[in-house]
């Protein structure tokens, strides 16, 4: 009988990891991160795109150390447990496009699935629409999966392929150390910084990095994935990952209550808008793109940390997608959707449907 040696891969393991993320995400808000945005992979990738100048929306520019921590924490766990497996070659360009549209959709709602949960845990009712959209998008994705959709096989490859994204993250971290934020300066060396808005709100570097590393480590061990949570529930009636998601929500909610960060309502929620149809629609696009790509934004970072070069391409797609989202005015703001947000969601859905309908090579 095969023993499951990985304690994080059992039910209490995933619940524990969800709890850890929920508690520390809420604490990160207290320690400086933006409201209901203790951790948001989409927002933080977007802030990184801003810090690098890939877009110039001056309120969302910061080299978020949490993201580097996620990838490097996962890398450390993968090496410690001999799970670093360099692999690539499963439709990389499609993954890039899915990453870009996932980001564009997420930025219409204003958050990745993690933030959708954190927004709900902070009392933001608009998140209900976002989560409903996310489930809807994932449900459409499961229909494609049932119909034989897949991205094809990856192949084992050189270790250096697996190292590429971790090295990029180390490079970003080095930039963050060399060019720290300067008081009242919108630029430090090559990096752009926000003087107002969510980009100007951040927890201390060491705190963000250590929590990021811990989350990356734990998530690699437990395979925590918010898209997988809904997908496995819909596709297989398998609640394993869903328990982790539920745990994140409950623990973030309780921590918010204790810290006085729970403010129920729809209007005037932090970094959120109240256009329900597009909170829903943006996340339908994001959910479908995550489902077609096989992981939520967080999971893609953890996979990239354990050597998955295709997940790394998805991550780069997200960062570039954030550039498009702000340069093309498709990202929302607290005032509502951007001038081209609706068009972007429709185009994104068409592209995802094209991918879903045409990539049906039988899995043999």
């Amino acid at each position: 009988m095969a023993q499951m040696k990985n304690i994080f891969a059992v039910r209490w393991g995933i619940i524990g990891v969800g709890a850890f993320i929920g508690v520390f995400a809420a604490l990160l808000q207290k320690w400086g991160n933006p409201g209901n945005m203790g951790i948001c992979v989409a927002c933080f990738d977007r802030d990184i795109a801003g810090a690098l100048g890939l877009h110039r929306a001056d309120i969302v520019q910061y080299m978020r150390p949490e993201i580097m921590g996620f990838v490097l924490g996962s890398l450390i766990a993968a090496f410690l447990f001999k799970e670093f497996r360099p692999r690539a070659g499963s439709a990389p360009i499609v993954r890039f496009v899915l990453g870009a549209f996932a980001m564009i959709g997420a930025l219409v709602f204003l958050g990745c699935p993690w933030r959708a949960l954190l927004r709900l845990a902070g009392g933001d009712g608009n998140a209900i629409l976002g989560i409903a959209g996310l489930i809807g998008g994932i449900w459409v994705g499961t229909l494609f999966l049932k119909g034989g959709y897949n991205l094809g096989r990856s192949e084992k490859t050189y270790a250096s392929v697996g190292w590429m994204l971790p090295l990029i993250m180390i490079f970003f971290l080095v930039l963050r150390f060399i060019y720290p934020p300067l008081a009242d300066k919108p630029q430090s060396g090559v990096l752009f910084y926000s003087l107002k808005g969510p980009g100007s709100m951040y927890a201390p570097l060491a705190v963000s990095l250590i929590i990021g590393l811990a989350v990356g480590f734990l998530a690699q061990r437990s395979r925590f994935c918010t898209m997988g949570a809904f997908r496995d529930l819909i596709l297989f009636r398998q609640p394993h990952l869903f328990m982790g998601l539920l745990s994140l929500l409950v623990f973030a909610f309780v921590t918010n209550l204790i810290l006085g960060q729970f403010h129920p309502g729809f209007a005037k929620q932090p970094v959120a808008h109240t256009m329900s149809v597009w909170n829903f629609g943006g996340m339908v696009l994001a959910g479908l793109a995550f489902a077609l790509a096989g992981g939520c934004p967080g999971r893609q970072l953890f996979l990239a940390g354990e050597g998955d070069g295709d997940a790394a391409i998805f991550v780069l797609g997200m960062i570039v997608g954030a550039g498009f989202a702000h340069n093309f005015g498709t990202a929302s703001s607290p005032a509502g959707v951007g001038p081209h947000g609706i068009a972007a969601v429709i185009i994104g859905l068409l592209v995802c449907l094209f991918i879903g309908f045409t990539m049906r090579r039988k899995a043999v």
Partner: protein, 73 residues
């Protein structure tokens, strides 16, 4: 003779879908599933168990795993 499901190179949920399909098709007996990540190993084992199959053996093979699952009746 055991059926072999070669799910190497596929990422989730493909290995689980392929295993489920094979379990449905054969109904009982022995199936060998080849996967190349630990996540797939855990997911396939979990899926098999949830469908009333037994995980008989998990062996490391060629940088991946060969999982043998079985159902008697």
């Amino acid at each position: 003779m055991a059926q072999i499901v070669d799910a190497r190179g596929f990422s989730c949920p493909q290995p689980v879908l392929m295993t489920m399909q094979e379990m449905k098709k054969t109904g009982k007996g022995q199936i060998e599933v080849l996967v190349d990540t630990d996540t797939s190993k855990e997911n396939v084992s979990r899926a098999a168990t949830s469908q009333g199959w037994q995980v008989q053996n998990v062996a490391e093979e060629g940088g991946g795993y060969r999982i043998v699952i079985k159902k008697d009746a």
